[in-house]
């Protein structure tokens, strides 16, 4: 199987190199035959990388410990669904996984554009295959997942297989870890497609709004996956790390947030180019920045240049990544400078108070957030280089720097969409802002008099109320207009309104999801924590909750031994059920972990951790957190996900426009053929 995997990798590498040459030559010579050949090389790249992935999964599933990677990251008693996750549990496997996802995106880009974007596609394939060459090359030459274990004996070097493997890192043995990394990788990798289209547009000088229109959905897909991945990562941290929170501003967390932020900026600024033909240079810069940050994030996670609680796949591949980042930046920025004359703005700004300026401010805030988070993340490296002193930049820093920026962004989330294109009159501002502001003031006053004095939490809830009303008001106004003019039922009017312009109203749903996320974030300020020692029959009081220890039992499974605490939970004398936090000792890796038990409600989570055994009293150490509003983080994330799906559905207007464009392209092709 190792040979099969290696053959798949090296053949894929050859096809990727061929794809670069054929794409570039085919594009230059405008030879359909060569271009089709380049496209087929991208499909062959996908098939061969898939072969390598299947070979590695087969080895993992069959416990083939001749393979060094399988022996290092799996074991016989690992449940099957976690065995799938072994593919991305270590450096070599996760790089192969990265390459496989890239090949899927590349194949999809080729297949979905067989009749569209014909001038761009040769160069799109060349760029995709250049990235594929780097990743397939690094997987084959530097971090090969198909190396065999061997021992040196008197008879020479012999193949060797241990009786059992080292097992999967216990922290990764959690259900969301089976889905979290693929989501995150789908996000990171997917931004290669908009990047490839942007570079192809620069090379071919086709810098109208065609590449922008084409790449919008190709940007939304990875943006959505990255968002889901970040959120699942938060859910994993919340359920596994046992400190009661979901976001710790760890470098790896930050690395995933950076391209999401710049991708968000691109998804907004792209609208100005489509509507007004402005910000053309800026949009290219944002696409380059986003892809750069994706690779930079991967580099940061794997090179070990910064310490992280999430870094499970570190090695010395840093220099290779640094070279690739350098080439990527040099190539894309040079190309941008060479094409500046084709990227002139078609319009001027009519007013300071307009949708266009709203988007500019939105981009300013998002990029400020990117800079602040990036600066904080790499500052320890800079400090070491400049003053030879190791410093830590952790949550206290990011909370002080990033929260105000986040709140400004929240404000614009509500205010921006209420501004009209070109110019917004004072009357319009008054009409649109009065109700949201009034509701926000009432909510703010209620919160203040209820005792909410934490400034950021108060501000977050105040702005959330403002933005929520801004968004709901837009739905209401649109539906009312349809009701009055078309006589539709209100709910039917909402549905038709949304489907008529899915992009706009999908965007509003995303904004509503962001509001819910901020409501959840605000709750973090009111966390309550208590620690206690318990044995059977003991009680622990936290806020209004009473936790009574019903039993402490121990047990054994093939994969781990465990100690489990059963807690009867009641609140104000009313029984709420039981919680069973446990502590597991994984046999293969010889590592312990805690598995928290959570009672989740919309108002607050009761979060319990069995943190070990007190050596003096032999009692169980129990940590309990009451986390207000956390559920809204997950609900908000789900709403953002739904909104993104909605925004990707072609609206009625878009479908009609697409039909017209296709007819035009076919007519042009027919004309060219004659």
């Amino acid at each position: 199987m190792n040979q099969v995997g290696n053959v798949g990798l090296i053949a894929a590498l050859a096809f990727a190199v061929y794809g670069i040459v054929a794409g570039a030559v085919g594009g230059k010579l405008r030879s359909l035959r060569v271009v089709r050949s380049a496209e087929r090389s991208a499909l062959a790249f996908f098939v061969l990388i898939t072969l390598a992935v299947v070979a590695l999964e087969a080895q993992i599933m069959s416990n083939d410990f001749h393979n060094a990677y399988v022996a290092a990251h799996s074991n016989r008693d690992l449940p099957t669904y976690y065995k799938f996750a072994v593919l991305w549990a270590g450096q070599e496997g996760s790089l192969l996984f990265w390459t496989w996802l890239l090949s899927i995106y590349g194949g999809a880009a080729v297949l979905l554009n067989r009749r569209k974007n014909r001038q761009l596609i040769p160069y799109v394939v060349a760029i995709l295959m250049a990235t594929g060459t780097f990743f397939a090359g690094i997987t084959f030459f530097v971090a090969n997942p198909f190396s065999e274990l061997s021992v040196v004996t008197a008879a020479g070097t012999q193949p060797f297989a241990p009786v059992d493997g080292n097992g999967l890192n216990p922290l990764l043995q959690y259900h969301s870890m089976v889905i979290h990394p693929p989501m995150l990788y789908l996000g990171y990798v997917g931004f290669v497609v908009p990047f490839a289209f942007a570079m192809a547009a620069l090379i071919t000088r086709q810098l109208g709004d065609n590449w922008i229109r084409t790449t919008r959905r190709w940007t939304m897909v990875p943006w959505m996956f990255l968002g889901v991945g970040i959120l699942l990562g938060g859910r994993w941290a919340y359920s596994v790390l046992g400190w009661g929170g979901y976001w710790g501003w760890d470098p790896v967390e930050n690395a995933s947030l950076l391209p999401w932020l710049s991708g968000t900026a691109f998804l907004h600024s792209v609208m100005i180019q489509e509507k007004r033909g402005m910000l053309k240079v800026w949009n290219i810069v944002l696409v380059i920045t986003t892809f750069f940050l994706c690779i930079f994030g991967t580099f940061l996670t794997r090179s070990g240049i910064v310490s992280s609680v999430h870094a499970f796949a570190q090695s010395n591949i840093g220099p290779v990544f640094a070279v690739f980042l350098g080439i990527l930046l040099f190539f894309s920025v040079s190309l941008l400078f060479l094409r500046l004359e084709y990227l002139k703005s078609e319009n001027k700004l009519d007013s300071m108070v307009s949708r266009e300026s709203g988007f500019l401010f939105n981009n300013w805030i998002l990029l400020a957030a990117v800079f602040a988070v990036l600066w904080g993340t790499i500052f320890p490296v800079i400090s070491k280089a400049v003053q030879d002193v190791t410093v830590t930049v952790g949550a206290p820093y990011f909370n002080r720097v990033a929260i105000p920026i986040g709140l400004l962004l929240l404000f614009l989330t509500g205010a921006g969409p209420l501004l009209a294109w070109r110019k917004t009159s004072f009357q319009s501002l008054k009409r649109n802002f009065t109700l949201p502001l009034a509701v926000a003031v009432v909510v703010g006053a209620i919160l203040f008099f209820s005792g909410v004095r934490h400034f950021y939490a108060w501000m977050s809830l105040f702005l959330s109320a403002f933005v929520a009303v801004c968004i709901l008001q837009e739905f209401y106004k649109g539906a009312r207009t349809r009701q009055q003019t078309g006589g539709e039922h209100f709910l039917q009017a909402i549905y038709n309104l949304t489907m008529f312009n899915t992009r706009r109203y999908g965007g509003y749903v995303i904004h509503l999801g962001m509001v819910l996320l901020f409501v959840g974030f605000a709750g973090q300020a009111f966390q309550t924590e208590k620690k206690g020692l318990m044995q059977q029959g003991d009680e622990l009081r936290v806020k209004d909750y009473v936790l009574r220890c019903r039993s402490i039992e121990t047990g054994d499974t093939p994969n781990y031994a465990f100690q489990r605490l059963t807690l009867d939970v009641s609140k104000d004398g009313r029984a709420l059920g039981t919680l069973e936090p446990d502590r597991r000792f994984f046999k293969a890796s010889q590592q312990p972990t805690s598995r928290v038990a959570i009672r989740s409600a919309l108002s607050e989570d009761l979060y319990t951790v069995l943190a070990g055994q007190d050596p003096d009293t032999n009692k169980a150490i129990v940590e309990v957190f009451v986390n207000p509003l956390v559920a809204w983080v997950w609900i908000g994330g789900f709403v953002v996900f739904l909104g993104t799906l909605l925004a990707m559905v072609p609206s009625r207007v878009e479908r009609q426009m697409a039909e017209i464009r296709q007819a035009q392209e076919e007519a042009v092709r027919a004309h060219d053929a004659i």
């Binding site: 046992g242 108070v353 600066w375 400090s383 830590t392 952790g394 720097v401 943190a611 070990g612």
Partner: protein, 161 residues
């Protein structure tokens, strides 16, 4: 104008809030645990160390030290200073705001302000009617336009709105 004033006010309030920090006179284990890193190698603040105290000797030792110092009547800053002397400056979860480390704190704010200045300059420039651009961009000949439209109609390509 009012919109601009409201935005400026909001911005000022947020910046002021960033610059000030509630300074609790009485330190607690929690308030200090979130400002120092656990040095067991977990790369987390002391209150977020994923290892329980019973298994993490450093977490237990550091927590005990905090309790002792609080009992001794030390202020939060004095306790943090003591930690720096024992474990080095990397024990602090955020770099101290002096010397080169000041750059960590100042640059994000500076970036925000410079970014705003750039946006304002761009907006002002884009709002100015540019005589050069207006004269340099040739207006299409109406006769040519009419001929193109006629040709597009005949070839069935339609006219883009």
């Amino acid at each position: 104008m009012r919109f601009r004033s409201t935005t400026t006010l909001l911005f000022a309030v947020l910046l002021t809030a960033t610059a000030t920090r509630a300074d609790d006179a009485r330190p607690t284990v929690e308030s200090i645990s979130e400002r120092v890193m656990c040095i067991c190698g977990c790369v987390a603040t002391l209150n977020h160390c994923p290892h329980p105290e019973s298994e993490c000797s450093m977490r237990a030792e550091m927590t005990k030290l905090i309790k002792t110092q609080i009992a001794g009547g030390k202020t939060e800053e004095a306790i943090l200073q003591d930690f720096v002397e024992r474990y080095g400056v990397k024990v602090l979860a955020a770099p101290p705001g002096k010397g080169f480390n000041l750059a960590a704190w100042v640059l994000p704010g500076l970036g925000l302000i410079l970014g705003l200045a750039c946006v304002m300059v761009i907006v002002r420039r884009w709002r100015q009617p540019s005589a050069v651009t207006a004269s340099a961009t040739p207006r299409p000949d109406p006769k040519v336009l009419a001929a193109v439209e006629e040709e597009m109609k005949r070839s069935g390509l339609g006219i883009r709105d």
